[in-house]
Structures are given as structure tokens and as C-alpha cells.
Symmetry: C3
Amino acid sequence: MSNNVIILAGGQGKRMKINSPKALCNVVGEPMLEWVMSACENAGLDEICIVKGFAGEQIDAYVEKRTSKAKVSTVLQAERLGTGHAVMMAEKFLRANADGNTLVLCGDAPFIDAATIEGALKLHMQKNCGVTVVTSVVEDATGYGRVIRTKHGISGIVEHKDCNADQLSVKEINSGCYWFKTSDLLEVLFEIKPNNSQGEYYLTDCVELMINKGKAADAFISLNPNVALGANDRHGLLKLNDIARMEIINRWLDEGIEFTCLDGVSVGRNVIIGRGTRIEAGTELRGNTVIGEDCVIGRNCILENTVIGNGVSLNNVQAYNAVVDDNAKIGPFVQLRPDSHVCKGVKIGDFVEIKNSTIGEGTSVSHLTYVGDSDVGSNVNFGCGVATANYDGEKKFRTVIEDNAFIGCNTNLVAPVCIGKGAYTAAGSTITGDVPADALAIERGQAVIKEDYAKKKLAVRTKKFEDAHKG
Amino acid sequence: MSNNVIILAGGQGKRMKINSPKALCNVVGEPMLEWVMSACENAGLDEICIVKGFAGEQIDAYVEKRTSKAKVSTVLQAERLGTGHAVMMAEKFLRANADGNTLVLCGDAPFIDAATIEGALKLHMQKNCGVTVVTSVVEDATGYGRVIRTKHGISGIVEHKDCNADQLSVKEINSGCYWFKTSDLLEVLFEIKPNNSQGEYYLTDCVELMINKGKAADAFISLNPNVALGANDRHGLLKLNDIARMEIINRWLDEGIEFTCLDGVSVGRNVIIGRGTRIEAGTELRGNTVIGEDCVIGRNCILENTVIGNGVSLNNVQAYNAVVDDNAKIGPFVQLRPDSHVCKGVKIGDFVEIKNSTIGEGTSVSHLTYVGDSDVGSNVNFGCGVATANYDGEKKFRTVIEDNAFIGCNTNLVAPVCIGKGAYTAAGSTITGDVPADALAIERGQAVIKEDYAKKKLAVRTKKFEDAHKG
Amino acid sequence: MSNNVIILAGGQGKRMKINSPKALCNVVGEPMLEWVMSACENAGLDEICIVKGFAGEQIDAYVEKRTSKAKVSTVLQAERLGTGHAVMMAEKFLRANADGNTLVLCGDAPFIDAATIEGALKLHMQKNCGVTVVTSVVEDATGYGRVIRTKHGISGIVEHKDCNADQLSVKEINSGCYWFKTSDLLEVLFEIKPNNSQGEYYLTDCVELMINKGKAADAFISLNPNVALGANDRHGLLKLNDIARMEIINRWLDEGIEFTCLDGVSVGRNVIIGRGTRIEAGTELRGNTVIGEDCVIGRNCILENTVIGNGVSLNNVQAYNAVVDDNAKIGPFVQLRPDSHVCKGVKIGDFVEIKNSTIGEGTSVSHLTYVGDSDVGSNVNFGCGVATANYDGEKKFRTVIEDNAFIGCNTNLVAPVCIGKGAYTAAGSTITGDVPADALAIERGQAVIKEDYAKKKLAVRTKKFEDAHKG
């Protein structure tokens, strides 16, 4: 027996005014579909079938790029004829898994969670239901379908506009997420009719058909207050972002993380932050970023899939797929590009880019420097304006700088090149060959002083300066 | 017949604690006077007369700098004796346009709009009124003058403190904006008296005088809820900024623009943004900035009067009077100064300044580079640390870099200079003369290796390093 | 007679999940203890005794680092047995000052203010009280101890859980701050018993004991609504930050400072800002920063202990212990490190770091430059990419650049070195010796042009470029 899921992701969201499936709209940096898929995977579901429709190729592209735990397939709903019709498109998927249960949910209701999926399945199986509706109890149910309970389960779902006075007072709403016994679903799915003003096949009609056939139907109340939330336009999407953003931040406040001002702070839901760490205003933590204890991150950092040790201090740093070890101090105005590894106690100052390089322990890269495709040892000192010339127009080469080397200001290191242990390069030198340990490499032209050269020029500049300060 | 406008801009706003006219205080980056003047121009009014008072020379300076569609003049109100007195100062302007209608409004109530001005004029002319008051219906009218309606129009405006119980319940308020039949206004203007505790001439007294003379008076209800809003202090001004900022952003949300977090986001009212574009936190769009479709702008961009194509990605970029073509990718930490043109598919990395230059298609400027006063071809590659030396202390010269050239790291290009098609410059070279197509230009000194130079120095540094890591 | 203070700072704040005393948690950039200590000092109290407990060595370290007006000592409360027990630990301090009055307050209730301390002391002395409780009248007193007034003073403090119906309706609460006549306190302090469910010694029991002994007891209502506020977890701490942040900003709005968007704006409580200055979004002003009139500060500036003159414009500048004189224009993307002095009318462009240097009047440092340990005269022009090589791996040396000098692009100035008045350095030169006034210093290698060098290379790059643009 297998428990699988059909995710409905065919809608465009016209009011978003985009040429993409609505389920690919972002909430805190990830498509809503991603939120839903990962909840399903975290609940241990093995197979996901996504019903795509509008711009379905974008769904396929997303699925292909994604590293999925579950087995994922897609089917196309060529016409948009309702949720019931969408599930019909997955008939083959249903039949292949007919011995188990199938979860059906919306790819654009991002806040479904694994605990809800698991809890609902447990109830579903315990009660041997044909269908179990995931519900939410809300203060204001306006617009939502109400779930009508009986002694033994539910008698159906009534759309808001069809509710009588009693039903209007019901606060338990349909979240749009259902567990079906797959074989029961197949029994009724093709019996539903588009007998409504929209001319659409409604999946909720399956619930009534099942009850009529004597199948058990029940409802599982999710403790997650946001389980039914979706968005129809950019205002609604912004609201989902706000809700998710504050929920994640509140979780980290609970864990003792210090936030002094939340303005512009965004923390991805998979980010991990260690105790005693402070996250400052304007900082965005994305993807699988992990931050250690007692760090100061911010202001205005962007960290994406980056691993930060303990006691690290970052000030206006952008890092992408990088690793920073304990007690490093970086910034302001620094970019760590992919595959950078900044070791323990490294100091990186302002206007520095590191790319695809290791910077050894205790090394100092103070200002206006680019280190790319390099293996830098420990206790190395970089002067200002150092450039690794790693690209000759055809290929990229690596630069090696061994421990204790001292790289003078505005040195060019033309790769492939190796600066030996403790070696020096003189300021302004372009180094094209290896430098032995302890040596000084100097490339310097002839120095000439031309006396009185500047007198005439000065007169012009002085006049300009005076003119500028007259006004 | 002509329809003109008198803008009252004499007030200081003492509680702002500035030495400027209050009407020059900014709302979302533009003086309140600018908001009012452009609304009048958008409503097609031909002549604007600004009544200046406190620091009137600043009003003149502003008007002179401004590119105005309407003909704009100013008159001085030397003493601050009320709104009626202010309009008296414009007597000459009124007499010159006596065959038409005159709009009178406040230069520090920024949210007046062209539709309101036009709608009120239409009513004013249809009903052949002496005066038509622009009104607003508000929930809480406390402090505002109430407009008292009769069967055929209005009977007057009653100040809050003079209202009886019935009048207090009126929710229709005077916005401080009026259309007058100019000749009727001239007939009564000099009859108003400063018979009040402030000893001021109130323009509202003209309404009563007109009605007494049997002129028609009516009121036009603006659909704009903010039409009467002004500010008396910095708190109030901040509130106006907030209102305007959210109104503009909500307009773009309606248009399908993606905002994921509004913190620090500010969009000028004349900015245009294409569909599918995302505006990230901390981004400020100023002036006549135009952004294409499917761009990502942010975080922390400032774009001023800048034109951005489609599919452009900007990360922490500041651009002033620049043009960026499709699919360019720029940032983080980049400044585009005026008259920069970044062509299609260009990649600009970190710590780059472009000034008064064209960067041709597909060219790459990766890091720590200044390109000024240059014409750069397509598919050029800039190494790290390139500087165009465009200024010799007297004059600025241009640099030309032709297609496919490759500029080595830390190259200095001393203008005027031309790097030919496909030519190379070696890292660390200072190029003072033209380089032919396909050539390599190299300026390099003598390279010397001094063995064992660094041994003693290393001992000192190693000790320092160890000392630093003892604690 | 002396008036002194005991600050209770022994608590950990477990729910903050930190390994530090709770009183060292920050509110708007300063530990709560700092807020309390400075309020006491501003009220003119001469001696402060801090009762430390959890991680007390951090309190000691903080006190040692701090420049205190008052004489400060600490005592250890080894076990956490209540507020009364904490005060017992300071017995020696009390006995040494037994002829005066002692204020007792909490190190983690940061919003106590000097006016409250002084007002309460005045009442305390006028009424010759044994104890005067500082109170606050609040809308919702839930959870707080109520102060019960009598005709002549107070009859005691009743904890919320012990209140009867009448007492529950009392809105005057105990702020946890008390003035004691020191001798009276000593008389009762050691009589209190831990007869309560927590087994703790409560300082409030002293109030009852005093009243029983016939001492006068009164309460002083603070006008400061936040006087009793503290925080138990990170959520509460964030709330304190928000309250303090908005209170400071509102104070500056009152003073006529322009804030256009408060997102990410943080102003330290000791910062001073001159009239007509605008503070833009994302700007943080720390410590003893002083800003003159008519400046524009922001966006995204961080200024720490920095003094800014009038008419200064800063854009994305970070400055630490620096001085900037009138009309300087700096940014974007600039760092001024400690002991930088930027003189009048200086222009600093993008990607510039200044450290421990003076930049003379009217000097221009446009881009990608590091000026460290330098004395720069007036009207100097820096080209792009200039580096002062102030460190030779052993020592740091100073660079002197005299008035009107012109430093070419990518010049290295190897300190110690002096560039004379009006002298020029040629682009790309490394200057290791002094340059006389008006001279041109040029260090240049041999320039070679290798024809047709690049033809083959170009083919490779062209292919890459085409491949990249195929997709």
C-alpha cells in the first residue's frame, strides 16, 4: 500500500499579471509549490504527481532542477475545468497506486505542513475513511466552504454562497486539502458533473458522492492556522510573505536569537541559526544557510546556502555557497562568491571579492582586493589592490600563496603562479613566475623625477578649484 | 477665456523648524509644491501664479530650475495676513485673466489630483458658479471647516469652532481648494475684512460675500480621500510620506509588480515598472526612472532618472541618469553615474563605477574597475582593477576600447587612448599610446627575485600573529 | 550625607537563551545596564554598587571598560535567592554610606530616567521617608505589584496574585525602584524571611517591616510611562528596542529633523542631530555621534562616535570614530575608519577607505582608493586605484601628500614617503622615495607592442561568447 499525493498547480493567477503558473510565485524566496512539495516529502509521501496547466513547461523545468526525495511526475490539464477535472488528469497515477491513499492539495496554498498531513492520514486510516478533509477553525470564515459535522464524521462541504444561517455560523472551513482512499476516489471521480454556474468539475462533489455510497467521511482539524491560506493577487501574495516571514522570525526569537530591528530582515525557512547570534536590520538569509553561535550578521548581509562558524562578524557581506569558519571578521562591502572557504580568524576588510578560493587561517585581506581561483595559506597578508589574474582570455588558472607570504599593494598575480612560504612581493609588481620561499619578488620600472613638471598644470587646477569655490 | 491657478506657498511651517517655505518640504522625494504644480499642469491649466512669502527666493529658485509645462510666475506676500490677503497679492494676475476661472489652492496640500481639478471645473462651469469649493467626505471631520449644502448649492463654509451641533455632524469638509469665476472673485476679494481673532483676511469669506451678492456657489466632492491632507510638523510630514508611499506601491501591486518585503522600499510617483518585475527591500526608485519587464531590482538599489530594459538584474546598484539595456546583470556594490549606457547582456561585478561611458554588448567588467569617459565595444573583457585615467589635472579625455579587446588586471588606460579590436593589454601595464588591433601591449619593469629577503621580516610578523592569537 | 545606588544585575534571563547576564542585553545598541547606570549618573548619584550573579565576570569586564562618572563597585550574589538577598550582598556598601539614602533598582529595566530618580529623592527627603517607591500609573496593571496608598503615604505593596478585588483595580504599580533611608534599610534588611513559595528574600518585604516600625513610606509617580518595563525573552527585548527606538526618533521629529521613511533607522539615545538634516532609511547612528545642520545622511549609513559638520552629504557610508567637516560629500560605498578627519568640502567617491588620516580641504578622492596613515593637504587630486602602502610587514609608516598634489591612477605610495606641493605622480607608478614640489615622479617599465598576439586567443573567446549566447 502506498500513500501518494496529487498537487494541483494548473492555475495562472491572472490577477498576479504574470506569465507563470501561480504555484511558482515566491513566498520568502521559494515558490509556493516548493513549500507544498517539501511538506509532502517531510510527511514521508513517496510519490508526487503535479497537475500542471498554464505554462506547464515551467513546472516541468522546476521539477527537473529540483532535488526531490519523492518520485515526482507531472500530468497536463489542457483545459481549466475545475479541481475535479484536474484530478481526473491524474487517473493513470491514481490507478497505479490504487491500493493506497492519495492526498490532494493545492500547489498555491503554501502553508500546509507535514504534521497536518500525517495527522490527517492517521485519522483517515484509523476511521477507514473514503475521504478525510483537512480543515481549519477560523474566526472569520467568510468566503470559505464550511465543513458540516455529524456524530460519526462529516455530512459534506457547503460553499459559502450555499450556506443557510446555521451553516454560516460554522467556523470550521475546508482547507482544500483531502486524503482519499484511492480506490474510493476512483469509484466516484468520473461521476462528478459540471452542474454549476462555472461549468466546472468540483472535487468537493466527490465527498458527497462517497457519503451517498456509504463511505466514511471525516475531517481533520489542523492546528496550523494558516493551512488554508492562498493568494489571488500581488497584495495577497505580499501578505503571505509577511505571515511566513514573521512566523519564521518568531520561531528564532523563541530560540534566543537576537533581532534588534526587523526591518528588511528575511530568514528562509530552512536556515539554521545558533544561540547568542544577532541578526541585524536589512539582512536576508536564504536557502540552506547555517549560522553558528555568537555571531553578528548585518546590517544588510545576504547569505545564500552559506555556512558560518561561531563568533563570526559580518557587516554588509554578500555570500553565495560559501563557508566561513570561526571568528572570521568580514566587511563592510564584501562579496564571497561560490566555493569560497574563509578559514578561522581571517580578517577581510572593505571592497574585497573572494571567488572559488581558500583563505587560510589568520590571513588578512584588508581592502580593494580580488582573490579568485586561489589557494591561500595561513597568516598571509594582502596589501591593498591585489588582483589575481586568473583568466588569460582562454582558460582559468589557479594561484597558490603559501603560509606567511606578504603580497604588496597593487600586486598582480598572473596565474598559474605560486608565491612560496614567507615570500614577499613588492608593491606594484606583476608576478608571472613562481616566487621561492622567503624571497622578495620585485617588478619595477625605471623611476624618474621630472622637476617643475607640474607648475603649469597646477595653475590650471588652482584656477578651477578657486572657480568652484567662488559660487 | 483662460483657466489658471494661484498656489499659496507663503507659509514657513515653523513647527517643521526649517528655514524654508513649507511647500518645499518633500513627500516621497519631491517638494509638496511640485505635487501641486504637476497636478495643475496635468489638469491642463495654462498659467500658474505662486504666492511666495517666507524665504520666497527659494520658491523662485525652484521655479527657475523646474521644466514647467505651464507659464509660471510668482508674487510676494510680504506680510502673512491670511489666505485672502495672499490672493490679493495676485491681483495683477487675476486681472490679466479676468475673463476666465481661477483655481486657488495650497502649495502644501500635496495630494490634489488632476481629476479633481477637472471635475470641479466642469461642475463650476456647468452650474455657472461664482465659486466651487472642492470638498472631501471624511470619517472624522474634527478641526476642518464644514461645507453647508442647500438645495441648489452651498450656503457657506463654517469653521469647526463656529459649528453648531447640526453642523458638527457634517462630514463634508473644505479641502482649501476652490474654483472661482475670476471676475466674481475680483468683485469681492477686496471687500473681505480681518474681523477675527487672528486679524487675518480669510479667503473663505469670499464665498459668503459671493452668495450674498447672489452668485451661485457649489461644492465638488473629490473621490480622493487625501485631497485635504497637509502637515504642520515633521510627524505630519512623515505621515504624508507614508500615505503617498503606500498608495504608489499599492498601485504597482495592482499592476502585478512583485514586492516581497516593503521595508525601505520607495517608488517615486512618476516611476514606471514593467510586469513580472520584482522590487526588493531597501530599494528606492526616483524621478523618471523606467524599468522593463521581468527584472529583479534590489536589494538596496537607488535608481534615479534611469532607464532599465527587460530581464535586467540589479543587486545593490546605484544609478543616476543612466541607461541599462536588456539582460544586463549588475552588482553587488556598483555605481552607474550620469550618462552611462550599459548595453545588452553586459555583466558588471562588484566595486565597479561607470561614468559617462558606453559599455558594449556582452562586455564583462568583473571587479574593482573604473570606466569613465569611455566608449567600450562589445565582448570586451576587463580584468580586475582597471582604471581609465581620464583626467590629467587639466582636462578630461576619452578612452576608446574596441570590440573583443582584453584589458589585463590593474591596467591603466591613460586617455586619450584607443585599444584596437581584439587587442590585449598585459596585467599591470600603463597604456599611454594607442594599441593596434590584435596586438598585445605590455609595459613591464625588470623582474628581480631577492632570495631570503623576507626571513627576518617574517620573524617579526610571526611574533605579532602569535601575540594576537594568545589572548 | 551621600546618595548612592545599588543596581541588581544578577539575573541570567534564561528565556533569552544566552550565557550572559540579562542586564547586558542590548536596547538600541547599549546594554540595559548602561541605560540604568547613565540615568543614575545623570541624576548626580556618586556611587554605584552593582550586584552581579550569573556570569558576573562579564559585569566586571563591562564596568572596567566603561568610563564612569560615578564610583562603581560590584558585589557577588553567589546564589539567586531574591531581590532582598541581592541587596544583603551589598551590606558593606550600605554600611559605608549609612548616613545617606540608597536607591535600589533593576539593571534590566532600562527606561528609568534621571528626572524620576531626582523627583523621587526630593519627595523621599521632604517627607523624611524610610522608603519611597517609584511607581507608574498604567492602563493594564496585570501581573504587577500594586501600591496601596493611605492618607499620608502608602501602606504597602501587594503582589498581583495576592490582590483582593479592590486592590486589583489599582492602576498604580511598583516599578521595582526604591529610595531607602540607608540606616532604616539596614535596620530591617536582615529581618526579611524567605516565607514564600519561591523560598526567596523579597526586597518588598522591607517596605512592610519599615511601616510596622513606624517609618514613613511613600510613593513617587513617575511621568515616564515605561519606567517599569523589562523583558523576559527575546520577544520582550525586541519590544523594548522598538519602544526606545521610536521614542528617540519622535524626539528628533519634534526637533524638526526630517525622516522620510523610518525603516531600518536607528538613532542612539546620545546622538545629536542639527536642524534641517535629513536621515534616510536604513541609517544607524550610534554612540556619541554628532551631526550638524542641513545634512543628508543615508541611505544605509552607519555612523559610530562620529562628528559630522554642516551641509554634509553621506550616501552608504560607514564611519567609526571619524570627523567630517562642513560640506563634504561622501559615498556611495565608503568606509571611514577610526581617526579619519575629512576636511571641508572634500569629495570622496565610491569604494574608498580612509584610515587614521587627514584629508585636507577641497581634496578629491574619487574611486577605489585606500588612504591610510596619511596626512593629505588641500586641493589634492587622487586618481583611481591609489594605495598607500603603509605597512611593510613589520611596522606602519606615514605618508605625507602636500597641497595641490596630483596622484595618478593606481599609484602606490610606499611609506614613509612625501609627495611635495603640487607634485604629480604618473599613473601606475610605485613611489618609494620623496617627490619634490612641482615635480613629476614616474616609474614605468618598458612598453612593448606585440603585433597579432591576440588573434588566436580571440578565436577561443569568440567561440565561448557565442556558445554563451546560443542558449
